[in-house]
Symmetry: C2
Subunit: 239 residues, 2 copies
């Protein structure tokens, strides 16, 4: 049972994604270079690999995806892929990093001087659009968090927490001003995330049960309207 393998440097935010399975590492790569040139080619290739990796990781998870599959999907050789990313985990982390930024974006829009109804309705629409346009991103994020967010923990605890606390303050302002019902800001944020991401993460189930997908414009609008209605007005009839 004893391990004779050398340990990865596992920089910064890395934590084991599975009980105990260290894998060897290598020198840092990423040649990256000057302003403009044919180094554009490099960036493009990196992007192609990252895109292919997102598609596969989000469907099969880190361990369910092989480097061979990513290389094939990105149309590069496996060896070549390792020229751009030191190892599998580094690639996975790079994908997650890109993800978090775009995943957070809709939330940044929230501001206290907005009308609460407009702000919430708009947020629901943009998050549902995200579920429609970038379902793999939503799914990979979900996969990562389900597994305890081993690689995103720090960012969630810092960047995300700061942002959410700020927006919770905005919501609290609205509640205190009587412009929203007395709901806890955090729970409201969770509800917004949950109902909107559901259509990406559980797209399979949604399609199996309704026979439709967000790609269908009618279904998208119907979904937006229903989610807005439920979260804003509630399921009970108004008095």
């Amino acid at each position: 049972m004893l391990q004779t393998r050398r340990f990865t440097d596992r920089s910064a935010l890395s934590m084991p994604t599975t009980p105990t399975k260290p894998r060897p590492a290598r020198k840092a790569v990423v040649p990256a270079a000057e302003g403009t040139r044919r180094h554009r080619q490099i960036a493009d290739k990196r992007a192609a690999i990252l895109g292919a990796a997102l598609g596969l990781f989000s469907r099969f998870g880190l361990h369910g995806t092989t480097i061979d599959q990513v290389a094939a999907a990105a149309d590069v050789s496996k060896t070549n892929l390792f020229y751009y990313f030191a190892n599998k985990e580094a690639l996975y982390v790079a994908v997650l990093r890109d993800l978090l930024d775009v995943w957070l974006e809709p939330l940044r829009a929230f501001a206290a001087d907005q009308d609460p109804h407009e702000a919430l309705a708009g947020y629901i629409r943009s998050k549902l659009a995200f579920s429609r346009d970038r379902p793999e991103a939503s799914r990979l994020f979900c996969l990562e968090v389900i597994q305890g967010a081993p690689l995103l923990r720090d960012e969630l605890a810092n960047a995300l927490r700061a942002l959410v606390d700020e927006k919770a303050g905005v919501i609290r302002t609205w509640v205190d001003g009587g412009r929203l019902a007395p709901v806890d800001p955090h729970h409201l944020v969770f509800a917004l995330w949950a109902v909107t991401q559901h259509y990406a993460d559980f797209a399979t189930q949604v399609e199996l049960l309704t026979g439709r997908t967000l790609a269908d414009p009618d279904f998208f609008e119907e979904t937006v309207a229903n989610v807005q209605r439920i979260v804003l007005q509630g399921a009970e009839p108004r008095a």
Copy 2:
């Protein structure tokens, strides 16, 4: 690249969980036997393995978990585990099967002769209790559906769909009777699932952002109250 391996019989509802990676199979096992005896021991061992497998699969996924880990967690030898389950996938399917029954249970309670408010509020409470008491079950279900439900597809399309359609009918009755706002039954069900399962699937994020978990009775009640309020009355103040 050519595959010289024999193919698994992959009984019934099996579909590849990953692009193309068939693995050899074996004779069907599961000795299982008469009414009572020391065959109780067998059932216990099976249960221990299933329990350990649920814990690991839900955290690391099918491919992120090794049979060695399951065996160790269940305190049986790897070879012995293979006596009870033909192969890794069979074990995974067995875990999922057990899961679906218990996951569906709360929904069965729904009946048209109930008061809509009572029914929905009660459903929210029982689903949140499930998220508190069996988070691994919720997470494994989520993992499976995210990945396209390769092993649950049939059951979702049949058993689940039938049940949901029936309950959608109940909700529609309430809507038509003016006892619920005019919301689409399917979207309401999705919203109920999403907001309640979120506290299990995204428990890591919830804890990172609020510092609390459903295991805390105060937080549990606070969550129940907020989710009920949002889904039933909505976030906007009543006129």
